[in-house]
C-alpha cells in the first residue's frame, strides 16, 4: 500500500505503478469530484492541488503523489459551509451541467491565491486551462470575481 495525504488525511492506495492519480482518487478513494473528461491534460476537469499548485491529475502517476499534500474538490468545504469560491459559483450560476465545475473551482482557488484582486481579463487567462462544454464562461468569470471579493472580505474581517 502507498500512503497519500489527501485533503489533510492520510489514505491508502494500491502500489500499482501504472495508474494515473485521477484513477486512484476516483477508484480507490471514491473521490469522484475529480472528473476525467479528455484524459490528455487539455480540459482541466481533473485539476487538483498538489502542494498548492494546480495540476491535471490525469497526467500524474498515482505513486508520484506520495509525500505531497493533495487537495481535491471534496477538501474545500468546511463541514456544511461551502468554500467562498464554491458559494460564489452557486450565487453567480457559474455552471450549467456541472461536469467541469470541480476543476474550475480548484483552478480558481490556485489562481486567486496568486492574484487575489484580478480583472475579468486576467480571470479569463487564469482559467484558460479549463474547458466548459456548456459555454458558461461569462458566468464562470463572474463567479471567480465574486469568489475573489468573498475571500478578500474574509481576510479583511480576520484582520
Amino acid at each position: 500500500m502507498t500512503v497519500l495525504k489527501v485533503n489533510g488525511r492520510p489514505v491508502e492506495i494500491s502500489d500499482r505503478g501504472d495508474r494515473t492519480l485521477a484513477d486512484a482518487l476516483r477508484n480507490d478513494l471514491g473521490l469522484i469530484g475529480t472528473r476525467v473528461s479528455c484524459a490528455e491534460g487539455e480540459c482541466g476537469s481533473c485539476t487538483i492541488l498538489v502542494d498548492g499548485q494546480p495540476s491535471t491529475s490525469c497526467l500524474m502517476l498515482a505513486q508520484q503523489a506520495e509525500g505531497k499534500e493533495i487537495t481535491t474538490i471534496e477538501g474545500l468545504a468546511d463541514g456544511d459551509n461551502l468554500h467562498p469560491i464554491q458559494q460564489a459559483f452557486v450565487e453567480e450560476q457559474g455552471f450549467q451541467c456541472g461536469f467541469c465545475t470541480p476543476g474550475l473551482i480548484i483552478s480558481a482557488k490556485a489562481f486567486l491565491a496568486e492574484n487575489p484582486n484580478p480583472t475579468a481579463d486576467e480571470v479569463a487567462v487564469g482559467m484558460s486551462g479549463n474547458i466548459c462544454r456548456c459555454g458558461a464562461y461569462p458566468y464562470i468569470v463572474k463567479a471567480v470575481l465574486r469568489g475573489a471579493e468573498k475571500i478578500r472580505a474574509v481576510a479583511l474581517a480576520a484582520e
Binding site: 505503478g17 491534460g41 491535471t56 497526467l59 490556485a110
Partner: protein, 277 residues
C-alpha cells in the same frame, strides 16, 4: 538504472508527453525512472556569462522567473503560450527538449539563443549545441543511458543579447502550426556581432540558418532597416522543408515561417533600442 534496464527503461519527468505516448502505446516501457523530485535538476541560475536552467525546472517556475533577466522574460513569455496553467506545473523544460517535437515552443528559442544542452551519463557530462541536440521527430542526442541535465544560454561579455519568439496557433492549448525565433547580439561598438535563428514546425528538427545570420552580422544597429530584416527572413525561410498535415498546409507554413522570423527579428532589434525604418 537506465543502463541496467536498457531500452525498456524510460525517463518520466513531468509526464505530460509520456502519459499520452504511453496511453497511445507509442512507448511501452517496463521501467520508468521518475526523476520528478530530483531537486538538483530544478534550478535557474543567472550568471555573468550564462543563464543555466535545470532540466527538471517546471514551465510554471520558468514563467515566474521573468523578473530575473530579460532573456528569462523572453522564455517566460513563451511558457505562457504553452499547455495550460495546470499542466505547466507538471511539464518541464527538459521534457520539452527531450520529447523533441518539431513544433515545441522552447526549442526554437534555445536554438536561436545558441544554447548548450548538458547531458549527464556514466562517464560524466558532455555538451552539445541546441541545434545538434535534435536529431529527428522525438529523437535527440541523449543516449539511452544518459539524461539531459541542464540547458545553458551563453550571455555576451562585450555587448547585449535580445531575442524574440513568434508562433501561429489555432487555440491556446494547441501546439504551434509554425514558429520562429531570433536572437541578436549587439557589441558595445553598436555593431551586430551575432544573429541566431530558430525555425520550428517546418522540418523534423529545429532548423537554424547560418547564411541568413551572416547576412545581418556586421551591420550597425543604426543601419538596420525593415527591408534588410525581410531579406534576412527570406534567406532563412529557404531552409524550411514543411509538410502538410491536419494543422496546416506546407505552403502556408512556408509563407508563415518567413513572416514569423521577420517579426521575431524586428522585435529583437526593437528590444535593442533600434529604430526600424
Amino acid at each position: 538504472m537506465l543502463a541496467e534496464h536498457g531500452p525498456d527503461a524510460m525517463i518520466w519527468a513531468g509526464g505530460t508527453d509520456m502519459t499520452l505516448h504511453w496511453q497511445r502505446e507509442k512507448v511501452s516501457p517496463t521501467v520508468c525512472v521518475d526523476i520528478r523530485d530530483v531537486s538538483q535538476l530544478d534550478f535557474i541560475e543567472v550568471g555573468n556569462d550564462a543563464i543555466r536552467i535545470g532540466a527538471m525546472t517546471a514551465l510554471a517556475t520558468l514563467e515566474r522567473a521573468a523578473g530575473r533577466h530579460h532573456i528569462l522574460k523572453m522564455l517566460s513569455d513563451i511558457t505562457k503560450l504553452m499547455c495550460t496553467p495546470q499542466t505547466r506545473t507538471l511539464a518541464t523544460v527538459g521534457g520539452n527538449m527531450c520529447n523533441a517535437s518539431p513544433a515545441a515552443d522552447l526549442s526554437p528559442a534555445f536554438v536561436a539563443l545558441d544554447a548548450t544542452a548538458v547531458i549527464f551519463g556514466r562517464n560524466g557530462t558532455r555538451e552539445v549545441t541546441a541545434y545538434d541536440f535534435f536529431v529527428g521527430v522525438n529523437r535527440t542526442a541523449v543516449a539511452q543511458d544518459e539524461i539531459l541535465q541542464e540547458v545553458t544560454i551563453p550571455l555576451p561579455s562585450d555587448g547585449e543579447i535580445h531575442g524574440s519568439y513568434r508562433r501561429i496557433d489555432r487555440t491556446v492549448v494547441d501546439i504551434a502550426l509554425v514558429n520562429g525565433s531570433a536572437a541578436v547580439t549587439v557589441g558595445i561598438d553598436g555593431v551586430i556581432s551575432k544573429v541566431g535563428l530558430g525555425l520550428g514546425a517546418v522540418a523534423p528538427i529545429i532548423l537554424n540558418a547560418p547564411d541568413a545570420s551572416a547576412a545581418l552580422e556586421g551591420t550597425s544597429l543604426a543601419d538596420v532597416t525593415r527591408d534588410k530584416l525581410a531579406e534576412v527572413a527570406a534567406i532563412a525561410a529557404r531552409h524550411a522543408k514543411p509538410i502538410t498535415d491536419v494543422r496546416a498546409s506546407a505552403g502556408y507554413r512556408q509563407d508563415m515561417v518567413e513572416v514569423m522570423l521577420r517579426r521575431a527579428l524586428e522585435d529583437a532589434i526593437t528590444n535593442h533600442g533600434g529604430k526600424l525604418r
